[in-house]
């Protein structure tokens, strides 16, 4: 019976599966036994309890009367925000540096080389703390804020942008403005009588600005009140430091991916583009990059996943993302160690799988269709 290789393989697989199931069962059994021994009970009911603690930075409303479940949502949004900002910034910066790396100009090429080698060879946490302690904490106190045109203030507590308060009743105008902005890239690609609308679509954002301005009742400028600036929207330095720390670190890796992908395009493509009389930037934008993109996408996906996971380093610099809030405050306050860790793991797995799915979908779209 075990002489036949196919049977042997099957038996082996079944034994392995059995071992995995037994191992998993052992872990669950061990955990529940240990919990019972310590008089702890497993369950997620605590998410409905009042939290009683403050989250310093929140995109949706938050008070100490809210539940742990709401704290999860608030901190999850913070994680998504910093991840999204870092992904966009790292991609743009990486593309720029990657292209610079291939420049014919010696200085440009070597600046890019130095940037990449310096950034990717120092620890990420050190970079984040450098941005936070070394750069942003050198800013002046709220009383000596740096004033930018338009009432924008910058100090050690963050960047303060004036708030526009909409006229009640005219709030729909701001939604209309948002819709116009979102619609712009779609309108760009539309064809009217066989002709692309193209850059004429840029009228839409202008219209949006006009709509928005028409609905504004008053502008609230940030001003010194008590200990801090009051009024306006605050961009906290923790967010900026984490965003910069993650984005710049990832951009060095992305730059190398971009460089590798461009170099993988056959020389004939460059020459062909040259022979039909395209400028250097046209060659890059119209011929080389679209082809290099196909090679880039799968590797970019893993960089994006790294960025999302790195957002948990925010715990070091007081950025209230899901790891800091849940494995720090909530774990200690609710005394639910296994549950909070499971929640954080589940959240990162879900975020990363969603990102992978989106990137795979995009990959299929740009992939070479063989006929």
């Amino acid at each position: 019976m075990i002489r036949q290789p196919s049977r042997r393989a099957k038996i082996g697989q079944w034994l392995l599966l059995l071992a995995i199931v037994a191992g998993g069962w052992l872990i669950v059994e061990n955990v529940s036994e240990n919990l019972a021994r310590k008089n702890l009970h497993f369950g997620f009911g605590f998410l409905e309890q009042q939290s009683h603690f403050d989250i310093p930075f929140h995109l949706i409303s938050w008070t100490v009367f809210n539940t742990y479940g709401r704290a999860l949502l608030v901190s999850l949004l913070n994680t998504v925000l910093v991840s999204a900002l870092a992904i966009v910034t790292a991609s743009l910066l990486g593309l720029l540096v990657g292209v610079m790396r291939l420049s014919v100009n010696w200085l440009v090429r070597n600046i890019a080389l130095c940037y990449i080698e310096f950034v990717r060879n120092t620890p990420q946490l050190v970079q984040i703390i450098f941005w936070y302690v070394g750069v942003l904490q050198a800013l002046p106190s709220p009383r000596q804020s740096i004033v930018f045109p338009g009432g924008i203030l910058l100090n050690i507590r963050g960047l303060y942008i004036p708030d526009a308060v909409m006229n009640p009743g005219l709030e729909w105008l701001s939604w209309l403005a948002l819709a116009l902005v979102v619609a712009t890239p779609f309108v760009w690609r539309l064809r009217v009588r066989g002709e692309r609308i193209g850059s004429k679509a840029l009228l839409l954002p202008l219209l949006a600005v006009a709509c928005f301005a028409a609905g504004v009742d008053q502008v609230v400028y940030p001003e010194l009140k008590g200990f801090n600036l009051a009024g306006g929207t605050q961009v906290p330095p923790e967010l900026v430091a984490l965003w910069m720390g993650i984005a710049i670190y990832a951009s060095a890796f992305i730059a190398e991916i971009v460089r590798g992908s461009i170099e993988a395009i056959p020389k004939g493509q460059h020459e062909a583009a040259l022979s039909i009389g395209l400028h250097s930037w046209q060659r890059l934008a119209l011929v080389i990059l679209p082809q290099a993109l196909r090679i880039m996408v799968p590797q970019m996906t893993s960089q994006y996943l790294n960025i999302i996971k790195s957002s948990s380093l925010g715990a070091a610099i007081a950025y209230p993302e899901v790891f800091a809030i849940f494995t720090g405050t909530v774990l200690n306050q609710a005394n639910k160690e296994i549950e909070t860790i499971l929640i954080v793991v589940a959240i990162f797995v879900t975020l990363n799988l969603l990102t992978s799915m989106m990137m795979n979908w995009y990959n299929r779209r740009v992939a070479l269709v063989e006929r």
Partner: protein
Amino acid sequence: MRSLLKLVACCAVVAGMVGFVGESVAQNYDVKSPTMDAIKKRGELICGVDTGIPGFAYQDASGKWQGLDIAYCRAIAAALLGNPDKVKYIGTTSKVRFSVLQSGEIDVLIRDSTQTLTRNTELGLAFGGLNFFTGQAFMVKRSLNVAHVKELNGATICVLTGTTLELNIADYGRANNIKINTLLFERPEEAFAAAEAGRCDGYTDDGGSVAAARSAMKSPKDWLILPELISREFLGAYTRQGDDRWTILVRWVHHAMLEAEVLGITQANVDDIKKSATNPEVRGFLGLEENFGKKLGVDNEWAYRIVKAVGNYGENYDKYFGPLELPRGWNELYTKGGLQYPLPWR
């Protein structure tokens, strides 16, 4: 000849019985504690302490552990193992400290940790004495001209996450109808840096730790510790539930250090006092009379060794909190208006 043999046998039996009876008397004090047995077998106490906070537990320039909590670890090792140096220190963050104790990685947790109802019940932990009475205090820059905690409405305060402090601030704000913003840090280093730079208006922690934080600032004189304590934070040693005799020994090590102070026995004079002691309380304490040590599961010289190794409570307080300019306050002996009192040695 035969009668001689009989006599010898008889004597042997009687001697054996006497010996047996004698042994059974000694066995009255036979203390059963799995933790104590494990420590003796290992020859080393594993003590969970803070990762580094002046006053309580920190490593000096030569890498040696110092601090009030460290003195307690050394005192327990002196009492149980006879050598205060037989301690392995495990630095724990506020996040993991209780898990490390629950899982058995450490024998005792002495890490400036507040003793609370939830920790005593839900977390399955036992209290081994309160070695530090304090409350949550605030430290602000003098230049802000703030004199009371109530004036902190709208201020931003740096705080360490995973502690009781966050809840205290939120509750205090609600009770007094003010809003104090918090910035939650994982480690003291970044929190101190943020306070120093002015990212927050102040720093909050237990009274002792705030004094320690002030001493870590570039210019401690620029910082004012506000007079109010907004909570009770009574810090002490933690053990696991289920080994009462071990918890009892840890608790009485604390009371030995207090008793020594009450009796006026210090590290310097303990040998002289032992030679000439006539006071029955002192003689009992030093193991010249009574069986206090044996009742606890150690030998009768245990308290002598503690004082010899680390000194009494007051000596340690002055040594570690004197440089931080933190007055003894609640931690003064009961005879001097404080809350620290040794339970009766009876």
